[in-house]
């Protein structure tokens, strides 16, 4: 490699790198193989998604080196040509971006060295010949004090971009933009002193740096939003297509009768409520639904998402985001059951969607006929319901045309409990202090000992979720759901 001038990167575009826990664990054990004194490296593949102002890269596969792929005799990274060539030839067969990830020795910040500049200058040009138009990714990992520090840069569209944020599923990491220390942490405000005392100062700082997307701002979502805002989460992305009705007043936190009178969008109400609790929280409110593009663009930048709707298509979209874009999520549902005038079941369900978890289809959470009906246009619904009425009149089965869905009954204390629980587990994830100890939790508040169950499920053979983890837009043809063209355009409030 010829010595080149130092690489100067742009920072006019935000670059987010996401990793799922299995790939990250593999990566960490690989690149720290010679820790603490010597470096090591691996090639990797990334999916990518170009959002409005952010390039999102998702680690899809670690192409681990084999014996002889790197020179063991030197402390720095020296990659053998056959390993490079094999990676490049493989890139001709897959659609993903290619990158190199290496470690720096203990105590050395993840700041690119002259050798790193040479390496990146060479590889960015080399791989472009095999994978034209795709980003080239270079990441540096380093253990700094108590945190794993990561920096990176991307060669894309003929210029270098700095990685501005790294999000790793269930593993808090610190992003050193351009290899620079992220700066001194501000003192945690007195408002969250008890939380800081309970979880530690690092935890409150991690919450301040975090972004959580809440899909659905009704009973469950508004409770989750309130808990997260009070806990000091730095940014909330709130998504809901509906306005407040009078019947929502029993459940929606922050709602008042005048909101129902004025038909205030639920996201407007939620945003105003958050800012009244925590004025330093940044709120992005979207009137719309997943998987509309503007909303996907926002949610893929969140550390995690909470699904707080009773709509199956929303569940499917969250599951898709978890698999392809590595956005971890918790999906909440509640149900009140009754018989003969007595309440027999008060069910809370929280389902974890990590990238490696079975998707919503594998978990049999989706009824295709119900999703189809949710996604129909009003005119198609009317036509179908009329066809069902005529079928019944003829004495025929009306199911092929329309199936009435029972209204899911719920009450405010149940939605609040579910939303608060989900927000609590989100705080655990964001701070790295605890994980949800379940895959799919169900509990019944009307049963002795709450009848708690955890439904461990396995991926179904042949499901697309096994093939496209971290593939982002490069597996667009494998999306589980697409936004219907008749949906109203997204309003950003």
């Amino acid at each position: 490699m010829a010595r080149q001038t130092r690489i100067v990167a742009n920072n006019d575009t935000q670059v987010l790198v996401r990793m799922a826990a299995p790939e990250f664990d593999e990566l960490r054990s690989l690149v720290f193989r010679r820790y603490p004194d010597a470096e090591w490296a691996t090639f990797a593949r990334f999916g990518w998604h170009a959002a409005a102002s952010t390039l999102v890269l998702t680690l899809a596969k670690v192409d681990a080196p084999s014996i002889g792929s790197l020179d063991e005799r030197v402390d720095h990274v020296a990659i053998a040509e056959p390993y490079t060539l094999n990676t490049a030839l493989a890139a001709e067969q897959h659609p993903l971006a290619v990158g190199v990830i290496h470690s720096h020795p203990r105590g050395c910040p993840p700041r690119p060295s002259f050798i790193d500049d040479d390496m990146d200058g060479y590889y960015s040009g080399y791989f472009e010949g095999f994978a034209p138009g795709r980003p080239y990714v270079s990441l540096i990992l380093s253990q700094m004090e108590n945190e794993l520090a990561i920096s990176g840069r991307i060669w894309w569209r003929k210029r270098w971009l700095l990685v501005t944020r790294v999000v790793v599923e269930r593993n808090p990491v610190q992003t050193w933009i351009g290899g620079r220390h992220p700066g001194k942490r501000p003192a945690a405000p007195e408002r969250i002193a008890r939380l800081t005392a309970a979880l530690g100062r690092e935890a409150s700082e991690r919450l301040r740096r975090s972004t959580v997307a809440v899909i659905g701002a009704g009973g469950t979502g508004s409770a989750a939003i309130e808990v997260l805002a009070r806990a000091g989460v730095g940014q909330l992305i709130i998504v809901d297509p509906d306005h407040l009705d009078e019947s929502n007043l029993e459940r929606v936190h922050g709602s008042r009768p005048e909101h129902a009178d004025r038909k205030t969008p639920k996201v407007t109400l939620a945003r105003d409520h958050v800012l009244s609790i925590n004025p330093s929280c940044k709120v992005r409110a979207f009137r719309g639904a997943l998987p509309q593009k503007e909303i996907v663009d926002a949610v893929v930048c969140a550390d995690l998402a909470l699904g707080c709707t009773d709509q199956q298509h929303s569940r499917l979209a969250l599951s898709d985001l978890a698999v392809r874009y590595l956005v971890p999520s918790l999906d909440c549902g509640v149900l009140l059951e009754g018989d003969d005038g007595r309440v027999t079941g008060q069910i809370i369900q929280i389902t974890r969607f990590l990238a490696a978890d079975p998707c919503a289809l594998c978990r049999d959470m989706i009824v295709s006929t119900r999703v189809a009906q949710e996604l129909m246009s009003d005119s198609e619904r009317t036509q179908r319901q009329e066809a069902a009425r005529l079928a019944r009149a003829r004495g025929e089965d009306d199911n092929p045309y329309w199936r009435n869905q029972p209204q899911l009954n719920t009450v405010g204390y149940l939605t609040t409990a579910a939303g608060a629980m989900a927000a609590g587990y989100a705080i655990g994830w964001l701070t790295g202090r605890f994980d949800p100890p379940f895959s799919r939790l169900q509990m019944n508040l009307a049963a002795k000992f709450l009848d708690v169950t955890d439904l461990e499920q396995s991926p179904q053979p042949g499901c697309v979720c096994r093939r496209v983890r971290g593939w982002s837009d490069q597996a667009i043809a494998d999306a589980l759901i697409t936004p219907p063209s008749h949906w109203k355009p997204v309003q950003t409030l």
């Binding site: 006929t369 996604l375 246009s377």
Partner: protein, 134 residues
């Protein structure tokens, strides 16, 4: 609608020599299958027919349903659901009548599984539909 997915499914059909194309009509997108084989010969009818199938909202989350024949097609009187119109569609310069045919929705086929089914597998249902003429 996942245009990329549908194009991939149609390319599978093309590999099997079945011509099918994606058409945007007035407010509705359909797949047009050309020259689908029929059992029409026994009734003195054509041995092939063009069929349209609407692309469901949110595809592939929404399941594929229905099938349409040109208005006035003699097959409409003989196929299952052909006399139970589910609406008219303008596509490829013709008017089409959607028949009440629901293979993935209790109509004889397997329940919709988006990991297995698509417009490439729906062809089998169309062939079966045009093979069982009354």
């Amino acid at each position: 609608m996942s245009r990329e997915r549908i194009e991939r499914e149609l390319s599978i059909l093309r590999e099997g020599k079945q011509i099918a194309e994606l058409l945007d009509t007035n407010g509705r997108t359909v797949v047009l299958y050309r020259d689908v084989p029929t059992a029409g010969a026994q009734f003195g009818l054509p041995e092939v027919a063009d069929v349209i199938v609407p692309v469901p909202s949110g595809y592939p989350a929404g399941l594929i349903d229905l099938a349409g024949l040109p208005v006035g097609s003699p097959f409409l009187a003989r196929v299952r659901g052909g006399q139970n119109s589910q609406g008219l569609v303008e596509a490829a310069g013709r008017q089409w009548q959607l028949a009440s045919y629901h293979p993935h929705n209790g109509g004889g086929g397997p329940p919709w599984n988006q990991c297995q089914h698509g417009f490439h597998t729906y062809l089998d249902h169309l062939i079966a539909w045009l093979d069982k003429l009354a």
